[in-house]
Amino acid sequence: MSPADLSVDLGRGLVLPNPILVASGTFGYGIEYGDVVEVDRLGGICCKGTTLQPRIGNITPRVTETPGGMLNSIGLQNPGVDAVVAKYAGTWAGWKTPVIVNVAGESVEDYVEVVQRLEGVSGVAGIELNISCPNVGRGGLQFAIDAGAAGEVTAAVRRATDLPLLVKLSPNVGDVRPIARAIADAGADALTAINTLSGIALAPSRRKPLLGNIYGGLSGPAIKPVALRIVYEVSQVVDIPVVAIGGVTELADVLDFLAVGAVAVQVGTAIFADPTLPVRLVDELTDECERRGIASYAELVGTALPPKPGAPSSKGVEYRP
């Protein structure tokens, strides 16, 4: 039997060789891990969040470990979209692995402008909108926590580009489904979920929070049950592909996310402990398909979803009748 088909079509021509990506912010621009990681075997690379202007990011410390996870508050340090294109796009263009540029901004115009500068750049395979940013135009409210704002920024970017467009959901909301629906309706090609949970840690002195920025984003295995829940909820309410992220550390996690409807999975924090994990997951997923005698990994997708939309979790969480 030939190896199972692992390719994933995320729409608008973005076809990944396999469903294992590396998550934005945890794999730099794809080059930093050097020979340690066989970059060409990844399904996709989401680069560090990119903004219109260069940003120096947040004051340090920026990362710390927490039980089963970590907090980060990098603050979108990046050299700005033009420098990113100038420095890395050429290298990316030579890779088999598609590079998806993670884009952040503080206004709809920011997003649109960044995306326009990426349009047509060889080496840029797609866009992932990080909408967990404060919307300066709306008084600092995050795009990600409001269905209206999320739909608006998605629609504006959609009008500005023909690049494949992924939009990344934040878990820091009461009910993620209306937001997911608004983004899908606004023309996104795929959703990615989830970004980090808002959390803090304290300095050893306990006189102040540890992170220079006070708040950080919680990631890693600790958040996997939340990510799994959100992917489970979102897959049931949108028709576009969902890419899962949050706490993947082993094949079992990949299979879990596929089972709740994700068509692909991003690995983030776990890379820091185990840089070769993403490539190994590709092999292990291939083996798993062979073991099961299935021709495509797609048969693993959605097996744990109910036949029709399930009851919403926000109606009662665990304490419902």
Partner: protein, 288 residues
């Protein structure tokens, strides 16, 4: 040498000072390919519940035996986890990482300055310098006699000068107070320790040219084009090189977790542009 993932085996583990451990690992790939000032990012065990690696300086590296050592203080769950290791256990290390100390080929007299666990940061430079026939004076500061690194663990050739906060052994006071005595003798200085100590040293180094009248080494052509922050040249020419610490995620430059502010206004990655910096490269007053 470029970094790689190396499966190492613990061969010895000892508590050499209260709460301070010296562990030896069989790691031929690291013992011969690394340079003083570099570090490893060591993975904790799969069933430990810890999600990040821990960075440790390569304390010593012996190409003959293939053994490297790390020297650390137990301060939290990660370091505690390492103390539970027993001979034969394996630890996966990513390394060697970061940029090493750069000794100017003309330097004969090296001043090493270590505060507490900072010893681990400069320890291997002592070996390297002595192998190259240089003279080494090592100034070491600790809180009290019980925390003083045993001289038996240092090469005989090193002049070892101790300061303790409580005066229980050696000079009573900060190790930085010893520096003026050696400033004139030293061609270059290399330091590792708490950030305030390094900042104090940077201030001392800054006034050195004025105080001593001459800089023995360094920018001969006066105010020429300054070397780019993070460059090898910037470090090699500097009188004072410091080994910095920051909490780390990836340790390879990918996550931007470990930056310090550079004098050029651009955050510098401790794991990639550092951990060794020329004192002039670091924006000490930036509050980062």
């Amino acid at each position: 040498m470029t970094m790689r993932l190396v499966r190492t085996e613990l061969v010895d583990s000892r508590e050499i000072l209260p709460g301070q451990w010296l562990q030896s690992f069989l790691a031929p790939e690291l013992s011969s390919g690394s340079r003083a000032g570099q570090f490893v990012h060591a993975r904790t065990g799969d069933l430990s519940g810890l999600v990040l690696r821990r960075p440790f300086s390569i304390n010593t590296a012996d190409p003959a035996t293939g053994v490297i050592t790390i020297h650390f203080r137990t301060i939290g769950r990660g370091t505690e986890w390492f103390t539970r290791l027993r001979p034969g256990d394996t630890v996966e290390m990513l390394g060697p990482l970061g940029r090493p100390f750069e000794v100017d080929p003309r330097s004969r007299h090296l001043l090493l300055i270590a505060g507490g666990l900072g010893m681990a940061g400069v320890r291997s430079l002592a070996d390297e310098a002595i192998n190259h026939g240089r003279q080494v004076t090592l100034l070491f500061g600790a809180a009290s006699a019980r925390d003083v690194y045993p001289s038996s663990l240092l090469p005989d050739e090193v002049e070892y000068v101790i300061a303790t906060d409580d005066g229980s052994v050696g000079h009573k006071g900060f190790v930085t107070e010893l520096v003026p005595d050696y400033e004139g003798w030293a061609d270059q200085a290399f330091a590792c320790g708490p950030a305030p100590m390094l900042a104090a040293l940077a201030r001392i180094a800054e006034g050195r040219r004025e105080r001593l009248g001459v800089a023995k080494l360094g920018r001969k052509r006066g105010v020429g084009k300054p070397d780019v922050v993070g460059s090898t040249a910037a470090r090699r020419k500097a009188f004072l090189q410091v080994s910095m610490e920051q909490n780390m995620g990836c340790a390879v430059g990918a996550c931007l977790g470990c930056v310090i502010m550079g004098t050029n206004g651009v955050p510098q990655r401790v794991c990639r542009e550092g951990p060794v910096f020329a004192a002039e490269e670091v924006a000490w007053e930036s509050g980062w």
